[in-house]
């Protein structure tokens, strides 16, 4: 019986492994690239481990603080990776077929085994690197063994936390009306507190050693003792703490797996119908027209274009899929925009806010238009023309972008030392960047082949959504971000202190340089938007369901 249970779980894991590989299309080149990257990570970590091992041999004192920091980071990475893998595979498990063939616990075993196997493959080379590095540095092979056991324990714990946490998140989203919203907000903007924490630590000048010392208080630090247990006679390593680590993992992991089975049973069986009539609102919002949008634009924008925009606004309100892309854009702005444009070029923060708002608003309705309309593409392509469809996406973007930019820029302009003219120019720049982002992103995303999309479980919906696998969706966003950044470059440069402060010496007023730079970006944005719009329309017109 046990053999059958384990055997079925293994079979499910193997099939999921194969399906995952095929869905995410690993080419031979990409596989080789992946292995090479693991090798690089292994060498880097191995070198670090060699230094640590050498220090151990010299000082005979375990670097507990640094070890705690490393363990915490590794634990966090594995949790996120496991949650992501669980998220991708859970919806695709064909639960109806599976649960009529095997018990829930077997299906869960298959899912968990798949995640363990994927994570295991990802960490095997880095683990070897660390083990060898430590052993060579410390001059004893036993530390390699204890390090491998510690890493395995850490991975087991992190995978169990990641799988259980992700499924529990889905259950909360399904059971609580507001839970889904909070889950979405956490997914989209969860990085904000992390980035804030990072900046806070930098501002407070907290060193890695100090941070590590704080982390030593966490139970995860027990794993550091386990890792260094093989280095006999090292100060600061307590065998009892190492044993406690093994014991804790031996208790916590099965408990988490039990929790996972329970949660999965609730998701699959007890509350399997996520959207029933009792939980789904019965109410229609008019999409036939006759509202404010028609009164405002009825004379200048066609009905089909207005209808596309109206539907996109409603769909985004019900399943804020584009908001997820906005999160990534804001992350780009925070991680790339601030250091590159803010720190290196000296672009003022006000302009970066305008840039971020414009790009974010431009992305919302043009993120993956083929994936969003996957099921209705045959209807759309046989009903709407290219100009109407792309126009509708751009219109929806502007309907969001214009008020957003104005509502943020005008108050900021009033409280800052910017002149009225400058504030107005900044607002127009924001709107122009929004339109530019929308058209550029639409042109890029309409080049995606429908056949390349795969169903993935949506962060913001209960059912699967269609999306490009792997880095495809991110590469599209990155291209758009890159192009719009180039469009904004004149504004960034012209408003950098080191540029406009030199202008008076050349007989040019400072304000003229700053405003001229903004105008230059506005003109550039309009030009790029027109070209991108034409490309997007042509791509829609020539789109075929081959």
């Amino acid at each position: 019986m046990l053999d059958g249970w384990l055997g079925d779980g293994g079979r499910i894991a193997r099939i999921e492994w194969r399906r995952h590989d095929r869905e995410f299309g690993r080419s031979r080149g990409r596989r080789i690239g992946l292995v090479l990257s693991y090798c690089v990570v292994a060498v880097v970590l191995g070198s670090g481990a060699w230094v640590v091992g050498d220090d151990l041999a010299t000082t005979e004192a375990a670097p507990s603080a640094a070890g705690s920091l490393a363990v915490t980071l590794a634990f966090g990475w594995v949790v996120v990776r496991s949650a992501s893998l669980t998220h991708r595979r859970f919806e695709g498990l064909s639960s109806d077929a599976l649960l009529t063939a095997v018990p829930v616990r077997t299906a869960v075993l298959g899912l968990v085994s798949f995640v363990f196997a994927r994570v295991g493959v990802a960490i095997v080379l880095p683990t070897v690197g660390v083990a060898v590095g430590l052993a060579v540095g410390a001059g004893t092979p036993w530390i390699a063994l204890s390090a491998v056991v510690a890493i395995a324990a850490l991975a087991a714990l992190a995978v169990a936390v990641g799988v259980a946490g992700r499924l529990a998140g889905s259950l909360v989203g399904r059971r609580l009306a507001r839970g889904g919203l909070y889950r979405n907000l956490l997914v989209v903007f969860g990085w904000v507190p992390l980035v804030t924490l990072w900046f806070l630590l930098r501002e407070l000048s907290v060193s890695a050693a100090e941070l590590g010392a704080w982390l030593e208080w966490l139970p995860l630090a027990l794993l550091v003792d386990l890792a260094f247990l093989g280095a006999d006679g090292t100060a600061g390593v307590e065998p009892l703490r190492a044993l406690a680590a093994v014991g804790a993992v031996a208790v916590v992991v099965p408990a988490l797996l039990g929790l996972t089975t329970n949660v999965a049973r609730r998701l699959w069986v007890t509350e399997s119908v996520g959207s029933t009539r009792s939980t789904t609102p019965s109410h229609s919002r008019s999409l036939a027209g006759g509202g404010r949008l028609d009164r405002l634009l009825g004379g200048s924008v066609s009905r089909p274009t207005r209808t596309v925009a109206r539907e996109r606004l409603l769909a985004e309100r019900r399943a804020p899929r584009g908001l997820l892309s906005t999160g990534y854009v804001l992350l780009f702005v925070a991680l790339v925009g601030l250091p590159v444009f803010g720190a290196l070029l000296g672009t003022p923060g006000f302009l970066l806010v305008v840039f971020g708002l414009g790009v974010a608003a431009g992305i919302v309705f043009t993120a993956e238009p083929i994936g969003s309309a996957y099921r209705v593409l045959p209807m759309l392509l046989t009903t709407v023309r290219g100009r109407q469809f792309v126009g509708g996406l751009v219109l929806a973007s502007l309907l969001l972008g214009v008020p957003l930019v104005v509502l943020v820029v005008v108050p900021l302009g009033i409280v800052s030392d910017a002149s009225l003219l400058e504030t107005g120019a900044l607002a127009v720049t924001g709107v122009a960047l929004c339109a530019c982002t929308a058209t550029v992103n639409a042109a890029i995303e309409l080049n995606v082949d429908r056949a390349d999309l795969v169903p993935v479980s949506g962060f913001v919906t209960d059912g699967p959504v269609y999306s490009e696998p792997g880095w495809g969706a991110f590469s599209g966003l990155a291209k758009s971000f890159g192009i719009v950044s180039l469009v904004a470059l004149p504004a960034f440069l012209g408003n950098a202190r080191w540029v406009y402060e030199r202008a008076p010496a050349l007989g040019v007023p400072t304000a003229a340089v700053r405003l001229g730079a903004l105008c230059c970006t506005i003109v550039l944005a309009v030009g790029v938007s027109r070209i991108a719009f034409r490309i997007a329309v042509a791509r829609y017109r020539d789109y075929r369901l081959e």
Partner: protein, 273 residues
């Protein structure tokens, strides 16, 4: 049956919509659907081979064939959703290479209804009507009539995600015919419908044809074709192997007096095999 009209009053001033005029605004006696040697290959596989057919305006053309015969690919070719490898065609006088001009003339219900699950049926159909350029009052009038006839009025404000297969099918069908297109392509329109709803659909299609709409009906349900089709084409391995009125097909083959279209279908496909 009310005939909805597309509101194009704002199209002339539409700055985002300066498309060329459609080549034919009124039917002028030419066939509603023409295919000349349409061929579609995917690598080594030929899905449709040298398909030639003509369908008269206002007729119901039953397009039959076993699984994998090329029926869906033929519809995709005629609706310009895929490009032919060879050959040409026209629907309502518009070449099938020009999808931008074709969109005003056709309605399409694929095998899987193209509807957004997060919308309600009313929203989905209002959305479609808006995309077709119909004004709000025309949409509402037509919508109420269709919802009533297909017995979906009570559920029209529920989200489609909660619908059964049949209810989704009804929504998809209403969508395909909402704007009263010149030609409507239906892929298995009675799939998942109960007998009562299936009968309503048959009546609706007959009325559509009587009012001048050409219905291109691809289905496995032969009794449906037998009852309402004015012309029938049988497709096998990508080729049109037999065509004519149901009576002609019954007369022309080695069938007995009480033969049905099913017998014809089986005989034709077996002979070809």
């Amino acid at each position: 049956m009310t005939q909805p009209s597309r509101d194009t009053s704002d199209e002339s001033s539409d700055k985002l919509n300066d498309e060329p005029d459609d080549p034919s605004d009124e039917p002028n006696g030419e066939p509603a659907i023409v295919a000349n040697g349409l061929t579609k290959t995917y690598g080594e596989t030929t899905a449709v081979e040298d398909l030639t057919l003509e369908v008269d305006p206002g007729s119901i053309y039953g397009f039959l064939g076993p699984n994998g015969a090329g029926k869906t690919t033929t519809i995709r070719l005629l609706t310009a959703l895929t490009l032919p490898t060879n050959g040409s065609g026209a629907v309502a006088g518009v070449p099938i290479a020009d999808r931008e001009a074709l969109v005003d003339r056709i309605g399409y219900l694929p095998e899987s209804p193209p509807i957004y699950e997060q919308l309600t049926a009313r929203e989905q159909l209002e959305y479609y009507g808006g995309l077709c350029g119909m004004d709000a009052s025309a949409i509402e009038e037509r919508l109420d009539e269709l919802l009533e006839r297909l017995e979906l009025a009570e559920d029209a404000d529920d989200r489609i995600v909660t619908y059964s297969k049949g209810m989704r099918q009804k929504t998809g069908l209403m969508q395909a015919i909402l704007s009263d297109p010149d030609v409507v392509f239906l892929d298995e329109p009675t799939s998942g419908l109960d007998p009562r709803a299936a009968r309503t659909v048959r009546e609706l299609l007959t009325e559509l044809a009587a009012n001048g709409t050409t219905v291109f009906l691809s289905t496995h349900v032969l009794p449906v074709v037998e009852r309402i089709a004015t012309d029938v084409g049988i497709c096998y391995e990508g080729r049109l192997v037999e065509s004519g009125s149901p009576e002609e097909l019954l007369e022309g083959l080695e069938t007995s007096a009480d033969s049905t279209l099913e017998d014809v279908f089986l005989e034709v496909t077996t002979e070809t095999e």
